[in-house]
Amino acid sequence: MADLTTRTTITELDAHQPFTVTAALAAGIALGGGWGLALDGLLAAQLWAERKARLHAAGQATTRLADTDVVADMDLPLSTCRAPDGRWHWAATCAEPGGVVDGHERDIRYWTGRMDDRTYRQTTTTMPATLPTHQGRWRNRIMPVIVTMCRKVTWQGVGDVEKVRQILLPVAAIGKKRSQGEGRVLAWHVEPTDGDPWEFGHLHSSGGLGRPALPECLADLHVPHGGSGVTGLRPPYLHPSRQHRLLLPAVSLG
């Protein structure tokens, strides 16, 4: 794991180098909101899914994230960027959409959900006399899903290109509602490139801030960003221990 805190350490420590990742998409990507999908989150999720499958196959139970106070970091093949106070993040950006059809950047679709009474009865030994479906946890839903209409999404990062490629190749779909056909990936392209490691670890190709970043990351640099807010610094992004006041990416996909 190389450290990006100073721009000169990256190539001196190991084989990490700047790279770009492009996912060619069949029909856009459904995102939850805010900015694009984080590459480090995608890699961590893939590694965690593999590890969890191995543990479960060996008969070992895993604890759900909400019940885990201290979360271990996955060993991602990415460099890191560390602040003097010890906080750090992986050197990789969030997805930047490309090949967007002008005038049709977003599509709004709807999905519906109703409680499956038969499944519910099979998963519990006790049932309340009535289960409200107009309120509470089991309420019926008619929910929008917002799809960014684009032919590809691109990330930048610094790390071990071959390992990143190996992790991503099995990923068939990204984003939300994958089981309904959203975010289907046609091909992955992971290419090493020349460039400033700091920029590849923080910025979109357009020059704006490409990931939530510590204020120390930008220091006195004039980089367009989306202001300040409390959000996740590194995977698992939603865990309370990962929440910090950070500078937000320049481009919102909302």
């Binding site: 909101g33 805010g34 977003r106 309120q135 839903r141 929008p144 996909l253 909302g254």
Partner: protein, 288 residues
């Protein structure tokens, strides 16, 4: 949804012929204030903005009470500040205690743990925290009268409440002053205009909504034709693609419309605000 092309809807709305007798409405507002004193309950939403615009024509110094839930869109707070300067309003902010977020956190239904039984029973009192209790304080300060911006079209419950109030008002106050309805009709347009919109509560307070029978188009038409600025939250939600019934300004989270994607629009339009709410209410993720 892409680039804006075509006709300007605001301009078109302003061209709508005025469907209401504003002079009569303003006279009724003045009479309501004379009889009951009181205040305007103002949320920053489109309906209460129309009411505020009408009331200030009847009495420019009327107290304008904003019940701050603590979970307001930043744009709403800025908008109310700008409108206060523009119209020189007698604005009074009445904060909810506890705030909406404190209430929801204490409720227990928004964590990943099973909700305590008492939380379900307490859920109905969020209305009390955000509306009833601040309104009680406002009535203490300003009298029994209230001017608010509810409309019959908003929900079945409001329609029933307002129609029952109209029937009561006609029975007790309409002694030949208005045209009588034809057979099998409950009331006439004249009776609605002259007697509708006033709700008398058991605590003796009297709330009057001058826009009680207006449609959403009437509301937007009035705002456009009188050049009244609209809370920018509406435009942002509309541009995001939120359906009209989810274009609401306050509070940003409660138990309503969660199953219709209300939180999805919050997440897409205000990602940092969403993250802050999520840190306090972890289960909000389930509605994205």
């Amino acid at each position: 949804m892409g680039k804006q092309t075509g006709l300007d809807l605001t301009t078109l709305q302003a061209l709508r012929a005025p469907a209401r007798d504003l002079t009569l409405l303003i006279d009724r507002i003045a009479a309501h204030l004379d009889a009951h004193d009181g205040y305007v309950a103002y949320s920053g939403g489109k309906d209460s903005t129309v009411v505020l615009d009408l009331v200030r024509r009847a009495d420019p110094n009327v107290p304008v009470c904003f019940f701050d839930s603590g979970l307001e869109f930043p744009e709403t707070l800025a908008y109310i500040g700008e409108l206060t300067d523009r119209w020189n309003l007698n604005l009074q902010v009445i904060p909810a205690r506890p705030t909406a977020l404190e209430y929801l956190q204490a409720n227990g239904s928004w964590t990943h743990e099973p909700a305590p039984a008492e939380a379900t029973a307490a859920a109905a009192s969020m209305h009390k925290v955000l509306i009833t209790e601040p309104a009680r304080r406002a009535h203490q300060r300003h009298g029994d009268g209230e001017l608010w911006g509810i409309r019959a079209q908003e929900s079945r419950g409001r329609r029933i409440m307002l129609l029952k109030a109209l029937a009561t008002a006609i029975d007790s106050n309409c002694a030949g002053c208005c045209p009588t309805p034809a057979t099998r009709r409950a009331h006439t347009a004249g009776q609605r205009a002259q007697h509708g919109g006033a709700v008398r509560r058991v605590d003796r307070t009297v709330a009057f909504s001058p826009v009680w029978d207006w449609t959403a188009d009437d509301i937007y038409g009035h705002l456009a034709s009188h050049s009244v600025p609209v809370n920018p939250v509406y435009n942002k939600l509309r541009e995001l693609g939120a359906p009209s019934f989810l274009q609401r300004v306050s509070p940003i989270v409660d138990a309503n419309s969660l199953g219709y994607g209300r939180i999805v629009w919050l997440h897409h339009g205000w990602p940092d605000l969403y993250d802050r709410v999520r840190s306090a209410l972890p289960r909000i993720d389930e509605f994205c």
